[in-house]
Symmetry: C2
Subunit: 360 residues, 2 copies
């Protein structure tokens, strides 16, 4: 899969721009605030139909404009091409089209796969357990879209159950039926996360060696055996009932699962160096790429926003090699041009415009 061209109208700091990309490497170079990250985010938006976590759709629209569109042309390995458009209006409406035909988001999402590393992705490693739960859940959804709806239902049942637990006269029958439902959905989530963790750990074990580190994901809810873990989870649920009623809160379940990334046997939140954090993040993302490639049959495009500047030359070298092997096309932003051993195009950017292009 290759992103051949990108056209932006009234997007972030870009009025209008049309870019034709290199099939291998595209290096976006420019000073602070030039719009490098914005361009990478446009590619992400073209792929997912939304801005990254924490931003509203309408943030994509240029200041004082009423709408934006992001257009891209994607080439597939089998020679087919697709023209994708995401359009966002200031009122918040979005529309997606493939080859000129309006399609629902669900249909749109399969057309263009991107694996990206932005700066704040580091929070998967350094942030609270919720960040890691979200990351695992996104991964499971990639494999099984149905999982998304299980998560949604779980959240709804959880809210209703907590509300019941807080009432002065608890409706026991309702509580029991919600509890049963919650346990059932919780079991599905645990099974999904268990497979995600297994896939990650297999990959991390194999690939960590390249960087001379050992990385492993552990969960407070998982013993070695998933069936055993689910048995324990159910027992814990039964024994917590009195405490739950006192607190008015559901205290057992995947919404409280603690997920730990260990580096060389120790908690990465306390012991991973800045460089190790980048490497772990890279390994997690490349696993995601491998799974998409296997399940969907496409090789996703890879995006890195100023990622390599925290890495020494040895680790940068390894990462570039891995990307060149696994992904057909790489987009990377940098403060200044740098030779990284892949043929490509440098886009010199400033003030929301491409000043010039050169071949690397």
């Amino acid at each position: 899969m290759i992103l051949d061209s990108l056209e932006l109208l009234s997007y972030r700091n870009y009025s209008h721009i049309l870019l034709r990309f290199n099939p291998h490497l595209n290096m976006l170079v420019g000073p602070n605030g030039a719009g490098k990250t914005n361009l990478l985010e446009a590619i992400y938006l073209l792929s997912t139909g939304e801005l990254r976590r924490g931003k509203r759709d309408t943030d994509a629209i240029k200041w004082n404009e009423s709408f934006t569109w992001i257009r891209g042309e994607v080439y597939y390995d089998d020679g087919r091409t697709s023209k994708l458009v995401t359009q966002i209006r200031i009122e918040g409406e979005k529309a997606f089209s493939i080859n000129g035909k309006i399609v629902p988001l669900k249909r749109y999402l399969g057309a263009f796969y991107v694996v990206s590393i932005f700066d704040d992705d580091k929070e998967i490693i350094t942030g609270g357990p919720d960040k890691r739960r979200d990351f695992l859940d996104d991964f499971v959804t990639n494999i099984d879209p149905e999982y998304h709806f299980i998560l949604d239902r779980y959240r709804n049942v959880l809210i209703r159950r907590n509300r019941i637990l807080r009432t002065k006269d608890i409706d026991r029958r309702l509580l029991d039926s919600l509890t049963e439902l919650l346990i059932e959905l919780g079991e599905k989530i645990m099974r999904g996360r268990y497979s995600a963790i297994s896939i990650y750990n297999r990959y991390l074990e194999r690939e960590g060696d390249r960087f001379g580190i050992s990385v492993k994901i552990e969960s407070s809810y998982l013993t070695g055996n998933i069936d055993e873990s689910i048995k324990i989870y159910k027992e814990r649920f039964n024994s917590s009932r009195t405490k739950e009623e006192a607190l008015g809160l559901t205290i057992v379940g995947p919404h409280r699962e603690d997920i730990l990334i260990k580096v060389n046997g120790r908690d990465s939140r306390s012991f991973a160096s800045n460089g190790e954090i980048q490497i772990i993040l890279f390994l997690l993302k490349i696993t995601q790429l491998e799974v998409i490639r296997e399940i969907k049959g496409y090789k996703p495009v890879f995006i890195i926003d100023e990622f390599l500047n925290r890495l020494d030359s040895r680790n940068s070298r390894i990462i570039i090699d891995v990307i060149a092997e696994k992904s057909p096309q790489l987009f990377v932003s940098m403060i200044s041009k740098r030779e990284i051993g892949i043929q490509g195009t440098v886009f010199n950017i400033d003030g929301g415009e491409v000043i010039n292009e050169e071949t690397l």
Copy 2:
């Protein structure tokens, strides 16, 4: 204020090391995982008596060792010197000494001031409102140590009040007296934060220009006038009572204050570029330095952990100039040596050892 020497025993990846520092610039250079950040954190620990947020004291101790100490010799502008030691045992006990005499932490804290920028400090800008509340509160504590105890009492009263709100038969008299106390403490916190925001905004207005950006801190609880704001806060408190009892939660007060950093008039969480985030963070930290300098009469040492690599040459230049003007001594870590226009020493580090020193 100058950190003249640092000695570490069984600290993180260092077995034993003794460093004599340059009075101007100290550049720590080495590959990923060499121990650059660990060294900078040791200086932070020497100053504050603790590791940074999110790390346990005992994380400072080298793997399989039972204790660590961090020793430093500080030179003051008036010619005095102090030998500082922080010692941490695996059981979690800590001891502090100045010139060989054991002192309580409270007394120790005034001896050595550091202003630091580590990677995760970015969360002050990109994280939730709690990060900005904590940052403001730390700043107020710098100015008025008493503020620390007000925050503590507020938290305790809040917990007790929420517990009462959750009971089935609410004790009205107790609730009323806790409410009164909470409002009183909340008012003090609001006044503290208001002065912090005023100081920041004055500085941000003056210094933002250098970088060509306009930065401003706003709070959901502050109108232009602090007395007016407090009146509104109290009124809001009274009108929320029914909702609070239904939710079993205190929903008004400084623990829910929403603090916003605006860049060029827009929310920095959504609109600041990576470079702008670094600049805003720098401006916030240099304000902290200015206030310490003014109130304590010392010029703090400045620490930056791989900060400049996200900045273009123009912005790096300005930041270096500002530091050179405001702080006598700079510590900075880098992947590879780089000329930054200040005379100093380069420490080449790898595997928890200084391989060699060179003059820059």
